[in-house]
Every structure is written in structure tokens, then in C-alpha cells.
């Protein structure tokens, strides 16, 4: 947008304070050198402890079998699937920010894309834990992969659960590639700044011999563009396929055509919320205020408002359709959702996801770090409850009243859920320590100095001032 519209539109500067190129490289790589700060060590120890808790729960689960979970008749899908959908949903922000916003030339994405992509990858890894363990016999999980075998069996290609496997792994692979390709120039920076032999070699290996020649850049830009093109449909496909797990079944409360778009909106909603949470923390502790400006937070919050309204619409239209369908089971499922034994969960979901984001209509609140932080956390709680509501309330009262029951998670359910936070944050803190959390080369690209029309290029100085 900067080059051709420079005269007509005045935009806030995306990097405040006008640092030089070498300042940027130094500031961004600072957290990766020297001794780690004490908060990092404390956080890492905490994350590792949670990870160990996770390990213990998994060993117990595998040893004893999935009976140690709270799932039973009639609620056969509990925390396992809730957490799976929740984590995968969170994993959506990364590709959206990196691929879709890249293709839309939304240059404000540059200071958060690396961060959001890393978050995506780690969230998807957390999500994949659950289906792998939910099979009950993780050592034969390879049955899910179509390889020739002694049983002459292929996976059941008519099952949405199998589509899930492909959707997730495609997503993981493409996100990983996308993240890695974007990292290559920065890895070269890390290699050139590294002092010790081992880190020089490791960064060197992964930098793939990058020298920053014009040919390198041309190939890089092309590869990045192509990957962005491949990744874009995945933003829609992954959570649509997750929603098929429910929508393809015949259960009232699950069997609805609105599920794919509704799930995608919800996924982007929760993903952006977690990006905001983590971004605010990183911005405060690392002091990256010149890269992550209030303009960024403001824009992210607008996304939250928009997607929050979309899920609100979905919640309401579901009720309308249940009534309009004239199907008594469908009607029962929804009335039971809002006023049955799990009404508390439903209203937590509704408040957190629909009412709370409405505060973002007010510009002051959008630009208030504390408010944005609290709301982003509330949204993720709400989105967790959304999955809880969809899965548990639809199952717990099925067609035979004699089967009705009430789902209660066990301690293993809870420690495993908490444990995936350990997994997530261990990976995330490692990432913060060893890789540049902001795309150095891209940040340099959006500086005024990088613009060939630098002299004629106008930024809105007022808007810029407000952002710091």
C-alpha cells in the first residue's frame, strides 16, 4: 500500500521511534543472546513442571486406558475432543495473519506474524496430542495412515475423523514450511551474530547458506508468495473439517449446515484472542513497544469484535433454526443447552464470546492494554466453553431418557489439559529464547527508509504519536 498510494493516504507508522536498520536487528535479537532474564527462567521452570505433569498423566492414561478419563456412556467425547478443537482453533490465527493478511498486503502484520505462526505450530502440536491418545492404543495409531499392511485394511475414507487426520497434518506441514521459509533470512542474521561454534553451525545449517543476494531474495519472495497461496485455503479447510466430525453425524445439536463457517469464525476468534494475550505479555516484558504499537492491538481487537459478532450470530441462528425446523428433538437439544443442567456453561460461553467483545466498539477500550488483555483471556475461556457446550450438552441427553447422564471430568482430564499448557509454553519459551520473535527482514521492509519514495511518502505523525 505504501508505494502507490503514498500521496493520498496517510497511515500511522508501523514502527515508531525511527530506529536504524542495525538497531532493529540488535533489538529483536537481544532476547536470544546473553543470559536469559530471571522471569524467563522462572516461566520456563513452571512450564517444564506442567509438562512433567502432562507426562505423568499420559503415562497413567496409556497404562490404564482411557477409562481414567471422565468419558463414559452417554458422553463418550469429553475433554479430549474439547481440548483438541480448542487448541486447533487457536492454531488458526497464525495462518490467517501470515497468509491471508500477506496476500491482502496488510503490512501491519509484519511485527506479529512470526509470533503468531509459532503460536499456531505449537497449538497444533498440543491439539494433535488428544486424538493420538484418545484412540486408547497409541502404539497402533499408524493404522490411521494409509500404508500397505497385513490386514489389507485402508482407513475408512468416509469418516470425517480420517479427514481430520489429513487436514491437521497438511496444516501442520504447510504452517511449518511457511514459518521456516519466512525464518531463513533471519536465521542468517542469527548465524552472523552467533559467537559460539555450535550455535553458529546450527543456525548456519538452518539458514541454508543464505547470503542475501538479489537472486536469493527473488526466490524467497516467490516461495513465500506461493506458500501463502497454499496456506490460505487451509485457514478455511481445517476447522471446516473439524466441524464435520460433528456436522456429519446424526445427532441433534451437531447435525447442522452452519457448522463449517461457524467453526472457522470461532477459530479465528480464539486464535486472535490468544495472539493478543501473548503479544501484550511479550510487548511488556521485552519492551517491543516500537514494533508492536497500539495500532496493532487496535486492529487485532477489531478482528475480535468482528469474529465475536459472527459467532454471536451463529449462536442465535442455531436457535432460530431449531425452532424453524419444527423438529422436536432439535428443539429439545437447544432448549436443553440454554436451560438444562449445563446452562451455566452455556451462559459463560455466551457472555464471554458475545457480550464481552462488544466493549470493543469503544475506541478507548480497544486501545487500552489492560482491557484488551483481560478480554482476550475471557474470550479464550468462552471459546473453550463453546466446545464444551457443543460436545457435552448434545451428548448427555440423547434419544433414550434412560441413558441420560451428567459428564464430570476426572483429575486426569484436568491435568492433561493443564499439561498441554506446559507443552505449549515450553515450546514457546524455547522459541523466544532461540529465534527472533519478530521478522527482522520484514520489519526493515516496512520502514520509511526502505521505501524508494521515501521523500514523498507521508505518514500520519499524529496517529503515530498516539500509538506509543
Amino acid at each position: 500500500m505504501s508505494q502507490d498510494t503514498s500521496d493520498s493516504v496517510a497511515l500511522p507508522r508501523l514502527v515508531s521511534g525511527n530506529p536504524s536498520f542495525s538497531d532493529i536487528a540488535r533489538d529483536v535479537t537481544a532476547p536470544t543472546s546473553g543470559t536469559p532474564p530471571s522471569w524467563w527462567v522462572i516461566a520456563f521452570v513452571a512450564a517444564m513442571s506442567l509438562l512433567m505433569l502432562y507426562g505423568v498423566s499420559v503415562v497413567w492414561l496409556v497404562w490404564e486406558g482411557v477409562g481414567v478419563w471422565g468419558v463414559s456412556h452417554p458422553v463418550a467425547w469429553g475433554y479430549g475432543i474439547i481440548n483438541l478443537v480448542w487448541w486447533v482453533g487457536i492454531g488458526h490465527a497464525g495462518t490467517l495473519i501470515s497468509a491471508v493478511l500477506f496476500l491482502c498486503r496488510q503490512r501491519w502484520r509484519t511485527s506479529i506474524n512470526r509470533f503468531a505462526e509459532a503460536m499456531t505450530l505449537f497449538a497444533v502440536v498440543c491439539a494433535l496430542q488428544f486424538p493420538a491418545l484418545h484412540t486408547g492404543r497409541p502404539w497402533v495409531d499408524y493404522f490411521m495412515i494409509p500404508v500397505p499392511n497385513q490386514m489389507l485394511l485402508w482407513p475408512n475414507f468416509r469418516s470425517p475423523l480420517l479427514w481430520d487426520l489429513f487436514a491437521f497434518n497438511t496444516y501442520l506441514l504447510v504452517s511449518l514450511l511457511f514459518w521456516y521459509v519466512g525464518l531463513v533470512p533471519d536465521l542468517a542474521v542469527m548465524r552472523d551474530r552467533a559467537k559460539k561454534g555450535i550455535s553458529k553451525i546450527l543456525y548456519g545449517v538452518f539458514a541454508l547458506g543464505w547470503r542475501g543476494s538479489a537472486r536469493h531474495w527473488i526466490n524467497y519472495e516467490r516461495a513465500y508468495l506461493i506458500l501463502a497461496g497454499i496456506a490460505t485455503p487451509l485457514v478455511l479447510s481445517v476447522h471446516s473439517v473439524v466441524s464435520f466430525d460433528f456436522a456429519v453425524s446424526q445427532l441433534p445439536g451437531w447435525h447442522t449446515t452452519i457448522f463449517p463457517p461457524y467453526f472457522v469464525a470461532g477459530a479465528i476468534f480464539s486464535g486472535f484472542a490468544l495472539v493478543v494475550t501473548l503479544l501484550i505479555i511479550a510487548r511488556e516484558v521485552y519492551g517491543f513497544k516500537q514494533f508492536v504499537t497500539l495500532y496493532h492491538i487496535d486492529t487485532m481487537n477489531k478482528f475480535l469484535l468482528a469474529t465475536g459478532c459472527m459467532v454471536g450470530y451463529a449462536y442465535s441462528i442455531e436457535f432460530f433454526m431449531a425452532w424453524y425446523s419444527g423438529n422436536e428433538f432439535e428443539r429439545f437439544a437447544f432448549v436443553n443447552r440454554a436451560f438444562g443442567p449445563y446452562a451455566w456453561a452455556y451462559w459463560i460461553m455466551f457472555c464471554c464470546n458475545v457480550f464481552v467483545p462488544q466493549l470493543f466498539w469503544i475506541k478507548k477500550l480497544r486501545r487500552n492494554i489492560a482491557v484488551a488483555f483481560v478480554i482476550s483471556i475471557l474470550i479464550n475461556i468462552g471459546m473453550w466453553f463453546e466446545r464444551f457446550v457443543i460436545i457435552v450438552t448434545s451428548l448427555h441427553r440423547d434419544f433414550l431418557p434412560a441413558n441420560w447422564g451428567y459428564y464430570i471430568p476426572t483429575w486426569v482430564d484436568i491435568t492433561m489439559y493443564l499439561g498441554t499448557f506446559g507443552l505449549f509454553f515450553t515450546m514457546f519459551l524455547t522459541f523466544l529464547r532461540f529465534l527472533p520473535m519478530i521478522a527482522i527482514s520484514e520489519i526493515m521492509g516496512i520502514m520509511d527508509k526502505a521505501n524508494p519514495h521515501h521523500a514523498s511518502y507521508k505518514t500520519d505523525e499524529n496517529a503515530t504519536k498516539q500509538n506509543v
Binding site: V147, P148, Q150, M151, L152, L153, K200, I201, G204, G209
Partner: protein, 240 residues
Amino acid sequence: MIFPKWVDKVTPVLVMGAAFSMIALVFVFWYWFSPKNLNVGYQPEQPINYSHKLHAGALGIDCRYCHFTVDKAAHAAVPPTQVCMNCHEIVQTNSDEIKLVEASYSNNEPIQWVKVHTLPEHAYFNHSRHISAGVGCSECHGRIDQMEVVFQAEPLSMGWCLECHRNPNANLRPQEFITEMQWPVAESSFSVLSEQAFSVADVKALSAGKKRLFSREEVGGKIAANLNINPSQNCSACHR
């Protein structure tokens, strides 16, 4: 420069190697770790030097004399010592091996035969269903009459079961020859004389070259049509 120049040449080799080893890994699992490779030929040592080659081959005792439940029940019984004693009360009583058999008999303690063919518990198998449909012992156990010590001749994997269940005709034979080890007598073809059954006389006529020759599939097809055979491929047939 951190890396020497030859790294440029090695890298593509490594990448290709990694891709190749992924494919090789699948192949290794599919081939070397398959029951065909792991289970076929399993031949445990038995407590007594009992030989099928002698008893079923040379002496020509019918399988059902010893494995007497095979055509009536799901399980093929391994004979109790009493069955051996029908003959060995008088035959070869001086042999060391037979003394062991006798000891088992007089002490009323069964001989601890080691089981050769084993299906996992989650698979259900029924001998009588197969015998009455016309699947001969040799189809699944190989040439028992030539084995000094029994070994597993077929993989017994699910894929192996299904291969026959999908296309059973070539494995079916008339009831009279169910325990015949070499069948048909003439290689891969023989005669069909009547609509219903195939008698010993038919096969003799065939050996004499007097009748038109049919392939095994055709004969099997006739049997399958007569007995209305249609082996199940439902998961629940074998995993109940």
C-alpha cells in the same frame, strides 16, 4: 564461511537419501515385519519326537482320526494320549520316545504339546465352517504329511484370510478329499462328472485321462453354487 564448499554437493544427496529412506521404511515394515516374513516357518520343538510324515504320510492315517473335532467344532482338537495308545500299546513299545508316551498315559498327565498355529484373541476362527464348505487342511496348513515337525506354512494374517474370503473358489474341493494333502491329483485340473458330487471314481477316471478337464476355479465355482458359499468379509464375522 562456516561450512566448506563440498557441503553444497552433499546436501542434495542427504535430502534425496532422507526421502528414499522414508519410502524404504514403509517397505521394510510392509515386507520384513509382515506375518508372511515373521510367522511363516515357525517350528517350535515338541516334547516328543512325533512325526506327521510318518503317521499321516507313510502310515496314511486320516487327520480326523487324531484331530477328531475338526469337522464338528470350531476348535481342532490335538489328540489326547489315549489316541496314541490305541496303537502304541503294542507298536514300538521299546522306543524311548514311546516310553514317554506311555508315561503320560499311565500317570494320567497330558503331553505338553507346543501350539504352533495361533490367532490373536480378537480374531474368531471356526474349523468346521471351513471343512464343511470344502476347504482342505492343506490350503491352510500346507503339506503336513511331509513335515517331521509341524511348522506354520501360511501367514494367518487378516489379509491372508480375506484373500481367500474374497475369492474362495480356487480353494474349494469335494468333501471326500478334505484331508487329502495333494489335491487335485492331476496338476491344477481334473474332471467333473456329475452335477452334485465328485466321487473317488471320478478322480480315478480323471487320472486315467478319460474325461474333460476342468480348472480348480470351475470346480470350486460349482461347489460354491451347490452349497451357496459366500464367505463373509464383515468385520463382525471374525471380530465378534
